[in-house]
Amino acid sequence: MSIDRIHGPEHAREVYLKHLWEKRFKNLAQVSPDLQKKIEDRKNVLERYEEFRSASSAPSEPSTGALVHYEKPLPDTAQTASLVRKVYREDDSFNLLMERQSRQLALEPSWHAPWKLMRVINGHNGWVRCVCVDPVDNEWFATGSNDTTIKVWDLASGKLKLTLAGHVMTVRSIAISQRHPLMFSASEDKLVKCWDLEKNTVVRDYHGHFSGVHTVDVHPTLDLIASAGRDAVVRLWDIRTRVPVMTLAGHKGPINQVKCFPVDPQIMSGSADSTVRLWDIRAGKAMKILTHHSKSVRAIAGNPSESSVATASTSDIRSWRLQDGQLLTNFRSEDTGIINCLSVNPDGVLFAGGDDGHLSFYDYKTGHKFQDLPTIKVPGSLESERGILSASFDQTGLRLITGESDKSIKVWKQIPGATQETHPNLPWNPRLESQRF
């Protein structure tokens, strides 16, 4: 090949690679098994099929000279399956839509007892925007509302224990520390407040957000809190000194929820730009960005019994492995509409509260929606006031507390004595479209 026929460096490199190939591998009698495996891996399905065809039709009779060829009948299903197995390897066969669908149908989601309303608590004068259960003793829970107050309720009796006033705008999020007697509340008045639960007063304010704060969470091991809001950054604060230790910028829209975990990724944030970011807080940047959701990600919930996380956007709930952000499950949530809140209990029940006032309960492992019930309306509330704004299971996972837009707090429990026979779940029929991309 003369020099003038080489066009640019790319072409030169190609020529060089070919030359290399000629020199090294062309005259090899036998390729080493690991190389052979790699070659096999690189072959696509059609190539494999061609090989299969040539291998199977090699001993076939020579042409008889007949004008019309007699087509052999198609092999039976067992043979087809073997062909499929031969052409598509184990991984590839899973890439087939029908194969995946048949495997889905073969799954047997575990039965969960259905849930029913146990108690309605009235007391707030506005939407109940956040619910947080006492993580230490499981004796009380706190709710934050549009009426700017935080109320503390007794979990067992539903009696009001305390009203905390201090914010001047909607309280959007509450986080209670496991290691300190402190409660943190984020509000639309750009402030994060730290409440001392022994003195029931505000002890610290965290100034620095440029706009309303939508979410706050306490780091489980470090003395840090993470807050995020409309200004599209996650801020990490040192609890004691109130110093904004770190600012995690990168989201392109308001952040709806932030979650802290003890291991990497230590911060996870879901935003209205329809992405979820897993943050590496030692480096101060995102280690992974999950772009599977196509609408604003409104809720993130960690699973207390395994290291995985569920995220929800409109009609789309997914769960992820925490350590590497691998997709675990697509939940059967194509027709749920806007989802405001998620909560997972230790028994593997995922609750999703819809903006249209529907409670949907999912089996966490398989993504099977086993119950879907509309919320019970409070007498005197408007039709438009159906919406679950916040929800949380208690620490045992036996009670579900929801904060709703009809200003009430509702407590739900599983129907006692329910069995699979008396209360069968919704049927398991995964649709093809649930394998959405």
Binding site: I281, K285, A286, S294
Partner: protein, 451 residues
Amino acid sequence: MSNSRPLSVLLPPPKHAINASAQHKSGLKELVGLLSEAGNPRETLYSVESFQENSVTLESFLPLRHKYPDLKIPQISQSDIQNTYERTKAVFDKILSQKLQPQGTGAVGTANKGSAKTIEYKLPDQNSEVRKLKIVDQQVDPLQPKLFKTKKVVAPSTDEPFAPVLHKSDDITPQSTKEERDKWNIPSAISSWKNPNGYTINLDRRIASDGRYSKESLGPHEISEGHMKLSEALDAAERKAREEVSLRADAKRMLAEQDVREKEEKLRMIALKAREDRKKNTEPYSGPRALDSATRQRQEDQRERLNKIRRELQRSKMSTAERLRALATGEGREVSEKVILGAAAASDTADIQYDSRLFTKAAKARGQSGGDQVYDNPLFVQEGINTMYRPNFSAAVDIQARDAADTLESKVQFELASGKRGREGPVEFSAAENTEKSEEGESSVKRHRGG
């Protein structure tokens, strides 16, 4: 030793060296991908592992739990938590200590306090004793503020992991179907039967061009023969009416013209007759010479009457003033011209009406250019004009009173100066001896006025 090293070691590294190598690598990767796509799988042996580490694969869409239904994800172990905790805490302690350090305070110079370094050396040429050199850090005041207070603002790093968008984008903006678009279509308000030049298309043509009404199903939309007939009849009736009206107008005009012509003829005849009469009168009587006194008397009377008529006629043509004058002279009275003119003047109108446009025009003329002209005509034209040039009587009375007081005062002064009392009646002229005194007085008055 230094001579053995190549010279290039001393040179700075080539610019963009790292980038260049990175480009080379990525180019190689692309090439490998290209070759694999070309169809020869054996050529993809190079860097198979590194290839496609960032690209989107089907695997990233397929949920792990679908593939491995019994996938167990263990809880995080305590050792992991502890490990992460320690590493993260170190980082955050460092950041926090930096943040908590008050701005401007320098690094405390006590770290190297004890580390005094001793160097022993011997000068090569002399066989003298070994010299010792102790290197000590200079003492720094730990509370001394930093010499340089400039704090560099570091922009946050923008290098992010490559995040391919892993969701369908078409569900964000759903395509509308043609029916939907037709439903939302708002037709333009422009008439298709009229063009900007004012030409219109006939009704039957409109119907013909409209696709909704085919020839078979014209039905109620067809314009029947009766309509055509009616419109034609209406047209004809209108034309007829117009013709009649114009005819009638013509006839009327002709009648009026005839009238005028007749009158003129009559007048001409009268004038002719009068001229002939006059001629007959003026020409000498060539009839019987001898006239009796009675006839003469009659002729005299006739002439007198004629003169009288002529005078009457003349008087009727006179203006009011002249007629009055003539009346006065006829009656032998002496009436002054002023009275006649006063009597002849038209009766006074109480309020004179002016054409306000005159003033508007004037106001406009007075105003600046068109840009400053806010109103097209002044607000108080009519009222203003009634009071503008009228003397203000009360003000006038005041001025007069003041003048009168002034003059009175000056008069008193003058009289005091001249030693004279006020005088009554007309001015009395006296002999010339008083002239000097009076002049003196006048000058004093002048002085007074000036002062």
